[in-house]
Amino acid sequence: MKLKMNSLLSLPAVIIVGIVTQILFLATIFLSFIKWIVIRPDLGKFFVGLKNYKWVFTNQETYKIIGNTILMTALPLILCLILGFCFALLLDRKFPLQNICRTFILIPFFMTDAVIGIIWKTLLLHPSFGIAGYISQMFNSVPIDFFGKHAFISIIILIVWQWTPFFVLIILAGLQGIDLEIIESAMIDGASSIRILFQIKIPALRYHIQVVVMLGTIFILKVFGLIYVTTRGGPGVATTNLPYQVFKISYYKWDIGQATSYATIMVAMSLIVIMFMFNFIQKWIKRLEM
């Protein structure tokens, strides 16, 4: 039996969450039909229909940026899943200092984007004074210009470093929940550890994989801070994703209409990507359960 409760109990949460996430987003959609440049009050504000979207979609940069957004999510997702599985399998054994190792792997997830971006850009990957530069000097080779020429790959490395711990956390929890008897009896039957991994462990973890891939997609799509402190979207638009583009148009061009058009496209695109991933995983799970 459940208690009788007034709907007032959940009202404060519904109101504030509703305002911040839904009403403000509706305002974004509304603003995307308006021409309004904040630093040019003389031009006024007026309704322009779909003109902002027309501008956005005739701009060649847009396609590059959408591509970046998808690649910057897909590549880290695949790498995080593989690395996360490897680490989780390594940590899912009994060995001395287990907890310390686990903690070491987890820490990057609890660090703010600003710190991650800055220490990688300066201490580690700086071509003249970072560890990477030092190593290339040792081998007498030309230091790699990580955040210039190879900016895109560097951002991917940073995202993978930040998000792999999250994958390890969830996958490890799944591995530790598997019934040991099943694995032992498979081992007695002479199954190799690779077969056990693919035929017992991964299928048993299907729901954990679903959770981690879906949440990973949602989180990694939003990447902003790492780009902001390292490459600033450059060179050109090489590392600009949609969230960064929204920021750039808002704060450099002060064009409300275009910025909100990009924001609306970002939401539409994330929904498409999330739906796609969800269907993909559902199909995979169905195939496993057949």
Partner: protein, 284 residues
């Protein structure tokens, strides 16, 4: 014959032992590589500015100067900002989130899962989708670059996280306990404070710590909606790098301070994170 079989199995077990310790060794190496950036950051924060470059893996001259130098008025100001914004936001999130979760799990509702999934679905929204209206409204209400403005946004964005996590702990409580309490004439408020809260205390604390980590680390709104007055630590960090140039030892010291609290809280509450996030999707 028997002797031979014994030999073979002994070789097998020693082989397995060697293999095991090799895997353990590999694990150690990978963990050290993984944590190296953090180790190097903490290490550099104890070096003198002159010895920070060129890089070396050991400290030649240990110093605490970087910490004493950066601990001036400015950083205290930003630490105060971060702490007050984060703590107040977490408390508000808890206050309204716990009530909502209480109703979702124990209240009579037609479709409690609808409300629950509505809250979770709000997490799909990328922050950039609300940036421009948030900026305009806060500008209009004079909330730009204030802690109040940031707190209001954070409460709206992170309350669903609390609801998501706390619901998983509330569902562990058998509903029969409440029935007994109801017969004893216990009101829904005293049921909450005397039964539900004590039973799920550790889960609630972990959820709060985790929300603390997320809000402390939040960068997108913090950098876009504050300028000088309400800057949180991560934003100050980002501007410190461009202002100060090559003072890497000090940079490392500030970075270390910035990640210290969230790292500790995060590690404490990791189990709750797994439980909260996998519940519903993972059976059991």
């Amino acid at each position: 014959m028997d002797q031979k079989i014994g030999d073979v199995s002994m070789i097998r077990t020693t082989n397995k032992k060697i293999g095991d310790s090799m895997i353990t060794f590999l694990t150690y190496i990978l963990c050290i590589v993984w944590v190296f950036p953090i180790y190097y950051m903490v290490l550099t924060s104890f070096k003198t500015e002159e010895s920070a470059i060129p890089p070396s893996l050991f400290i030649h001259k240990f110093t605490l100067d970087n910490y004493t130098i950066i601990f001036d008025k400015t950083i205290f100001y930003h630490i105060t900002n971060s702490v007050s914004v984060t703590v107040i936001s977490v408390l508000l999130c808890l206050a309204i989130g716990l009530l909502a979760a209480y109703r979702i799990v124990f209240g009579k509702m037609k479709n409690p899962t609808n409300l629950y999934f509505w809250f979770i679905s709000t997490q799909l929204l990328p922050p950039c989708a609300v940036l421009v209206p948030a900026f305009l409204i806060m500008n209009w209400m004079n909330l730009l670059d204030t802690r109040t403005g940031l707190i209001l946004l954070y409460v709206g964005i992170h309350t669903p996280l609390i609801i998501w996590m706390v619901t998983s702990f509330f569902k562990d409580i058998p509903i029969e306990i409440l029935e007994a309490a109801d017969i004893d004439g216990c009101s829904k408020w005293s049921a909450f404070f005397k039964i539900i809260f004590p039973l799920s205390k550790s889960g609630i604390v972990s959820s709060a710590l985790l929300t603390f980590v997320f809000i402390w680390n939040e960068f997108f709104f913090a950098v876009n909606l504050t300028a000088v007055k309400a800057n949180t630590l991560p934003v100050y960090m980002a501007s410190f790098m461009t202002q100060e140039g090559l003072f890497w030892a000090k940079l490392s010291a500030i970075s270390t301070i910035t990640i210290l609290i969230p790292a500790i809280f995060g590690i404490i509450s990791q189990k709750a994170l797994v439980k909260g996030l996998t519940m519903g999707a993972v059976k059991g």
